[in-house]
């Protein structure tokens, strides 16, 4: 029989698949949706840069057949800022985890959003630090069990979409790895949007998180998403909570405002004009 070739093969870095992610992990679905969106938009992949931080999903930049950079823990957005400002023709996407982006990298996230730098951020939220064996993180639900919350988590988690909206992101959405169609459309929208755009993707982590929280398989976690998800487009992100009973999904923010890059270029042109005129 002939060799099977996946339609998205050309978007994947040669020799890198199969990836390192566990059975039932949703990171691969996020990768799948990301290249799906690029394919739909017929984008010039030469102009796409994928940046990731540290953690399971951090490996993603190695799997996309694009210019990619795998930064230090938490610094993906800061690196991406440098790239985007230095070459505005590039579409710079940061794909990283909840711990990377919102614990060690939290400061960079809010400031990039505040500046409205034209970078796209996809956060794979698996509710814990998977790569290091399942410690609690900034998104771990209250009372959840992890290796460092052996008596249940006593910290309140971040509401990422609320945080993003409050920090000034121009596009904010949340989906799960089961809502692939909506996720792909959402990523397409994000890629075409100008400014700091953010998508949170709830992703199953059965091996590390699920097994400790009564969801031993990816299917169980995906069925939880199916059961609990409630799509509330354009609703108040402050109310978009995540509980065992209800995961509020949807597009929460979609606004226009001048990007940092635009204002910067604009300023430079003005200054240069003045200079030409000679002070």
């Amino acid at each position: 029989m002939t060799k099977e070739v996946h339609p998205f093969e050309r978007y994947l870095r040669g020799g890198m698949i199969p990836h390192i992610w566990c059975e039932g992990c949703g990171n691969g679905i996020i990768l799948n949706c990301f290249v799906h969106a690029i394919d739909d938009l017929k984008m010039d992949i030469d102009k796409i840069v994928v940046v990731s931080g540290i953690g399971c999903i951090g490996r993603l930049s190695g799997y996309t057949n694009t210019d990619s950079y795998h930064t230090t823990h938490g610094r993906a957005i800061a690196f991406a800022t440098g790239v985007k400002l230095a070459n505005p023709d590039l579409t710079v996407t940061v794909i990283s985890g909840d711990g990377d982006l919102f614990a060690i990298g939290g400061n960079h996230f809010i400031h990039a959003a505040r500046r409205n730098v034209d970078i796209k951020v996809i956060c794979a939220n698996n509710f814990n630090y998977g790569m290091t064996g399942g410690q609690y993180g900034p998104t771990t639900p209250l009372n959840a069990w992890t290796t460092t919350t052996p008596y249940g988590n006593i910290e309140h988690p971040f509401n990422l979409v609320h945080l993003a909206a409050a920090s000034g992101a121009v596009y904010v959405a949340r989906w799960t790895t089961l809502h692939v169609r909506r996720l792909v459309e959402s990523i397409k929208k994000m890629l075409q949007k100008e400014g700091f755009a953010f998508i949170e993707v709830i992703t199953p982590c059965p091996e590390i998180f699920g097994k400790r929280n009564k969801m031993a398989t990816g299917i169980e976690m995906m069925n939880w998403f199916k059961k609990a998800s409630d799509i509330q487009n354009n609703s108040d992100p402050a109310k978009a909570g995540i509980t065992p009973e209800r995961i509020v999904l949807g597009e929460f923010v979609d606004i226009e405002k001048p990007t940092y890059d635009y204002l910067l270029r604009d300023m430079i042109l003005k200054v240069q004009k003045r200079v030409r005129g000679g002070e």
Binding site: D46, D67, S68, H70, T72, F79, N87, M267, I268
Partner: protein, 385 residues
């Protein structure tokens, strides 16, 4: 009307060192600055904020030094010469990503205008306390290049030099200034644009399919593709092979990579190192010095000569890689070496190591002000006996 070229402000100027440094960067082709305000380096940022837009460059003030360093690396990968400027506390924060820059072989320049530490220490006082941090500050084995200007003119000249070296060797280069050279006003002479030698990184000459981002040429330095040109390459802070693929479990890959990262500097020390040998021909005592201290050392040596003491000065313009060989030569020739440093003993350890049996007299200086020539002269007198 013809555009006024503002990239090189040819002519004579009366500037402080931080300004000269910024001008040097622009002259060298730097078009991206990411930083965070800190005394006594703030003036570099301020000058860049004002000047970069004039030449179409980007100034961005980040939320901290960690992100500043990350952004500098990002800009460099996007093909723009980039730098940051900071001082002790900020320099500490940058170490993480300096390590990343070393690992991903990123051309970029870090200006460290040294001040008194540890910790917040004495923001407005000069010091030479980051010399070792410049070499060992980030974790793991690596080589790095650090230059130590001792005048406002050199803040200009050596910043250009720093960029050239970083482009040649794909490595972060540190300009180790201090509060005095940073804030001191002196006359600076800027040559014509043509007279300034600029080096740019080596680009791949092969097709993207064949390109392996970390496959070195004979000189051990891999040609550097930049984002957006269709090379679709991958760079990671993880140990990687020539194709850039992570090799976290292969000892071979680790050895191969780390060795090359060090060797590309070690094997090129002669090309990299810059020194000043003053009155060393017949010297039997010598001062080994760098940075601002070397100016006090020079006048001390002159006075010593008036007292018929055969004194000489070996000034290290390049402190890293450390020029062992040259220090050793001098050490063999003299009976003793005098090493003044504005710290409690850092580079002197390297000198001692290179000097072998030759006695080394260390003159520490902590805080407030630099060495007085007379202090160094006394040391020479004693060493001469």
């Amino acid at each position: 009307m013809a555009q006024k070229d503002r990239t090189v402000l040819t002519g004579k100027h009366f500037w402080e060192g931080d300004v000269a440094c910024a001008e040097g960067a622009i002259a060298a082709g730097c078009r991206f600055f990411a930083g965070y305000p800190i005394t006594p380096a703030t003036e570099v940022a301020e000058r860049m904020a004002q000047r970069l837009p004039e030449v179409g460059g980007i100034y961005v003030q980040m939320e901290d030094e960690i992100s500043s360093m990350a952004a500098v690396i990002g800009a460099s990968y996007a093909g723009v010469k980039s730098m940051t400027a900071t001082s002790g506390p900020g320099f500490s924060l940058m170490q993480e990503n300096i390590g990343l820059a070393v690992m991903t072989e990123t051309p970029c320049v870090i200006v460290d205008v040294m001040r008194g530490g540890p910790s917040t220490g004495q923001p407005t006082k000069p010091a030479q306390q980051d010399v070792m941090q410049a070499k060992w500050g980030s974790h793991g084995d690596y080589e790095i290049i650090a230059l130590a200007p001792n005048s406002v003119q050199e803040m200009f000249d050596l910043t250009i030099e720093a960029f050239n070296l970083s482009e040649i060797y794909r490595i972060p280069v540190i300009v180790l200034g201090d509060e005095i050279v940073g804030h001191m006003y002196e006359r600076v002479t800027i040559p014509s644009k043509e007279a300034i030698k600029i080096v740019n990184r080596k680009m791949p000459q092969i097709s993207p399919e064949k390109y392996a981002p970390f496959k070195p040429d004979k000189d051990l330095i891999p040609p550097m593709a930049i984002f957006g040109q269709g090379y679709h390459f991958y760079a990671t802070g993880l140990t990687h092979d020539e194709a850039g693929r992570p090799r976290t479990d292969s000892i071979e890959a680790q050895k191969k990579l780390v060795q090359r990262l060090c060797d590309k500097i070690r094997k090129n020390v002669d090309k990299i190192v810059k020194l000043e040998k003053i009155m060393l021909e017949d010297a039997d005592v010598a001062v080994v010095s760098y940075g601002i201290t070397s100016r006090a050392a020079l006048s001390a040596v002159r006075k010593a000569r008036q007292e018929r003491i055969k004194a000489g000065l070996l000034r290290l313009v390049t402190v890293w890689p450390f020029p062992d060989k040259y220090v050793a030569e001098v050490a063999e020739q003299v009976k003793a070496l005098v090493v003044p440093e504005m710290n409690y003993g850092q580079l002197v350890r390297e000198v001692e190591r290179a000097a072998k049996e030759t006695p080394v007299k260390f003159l520490p200086k902590l805080g407030e002000e630099p060495h007085k020539p007379i202090e160094i002269l006394d040391a020479l007198r004693r060493a001469h006996k």
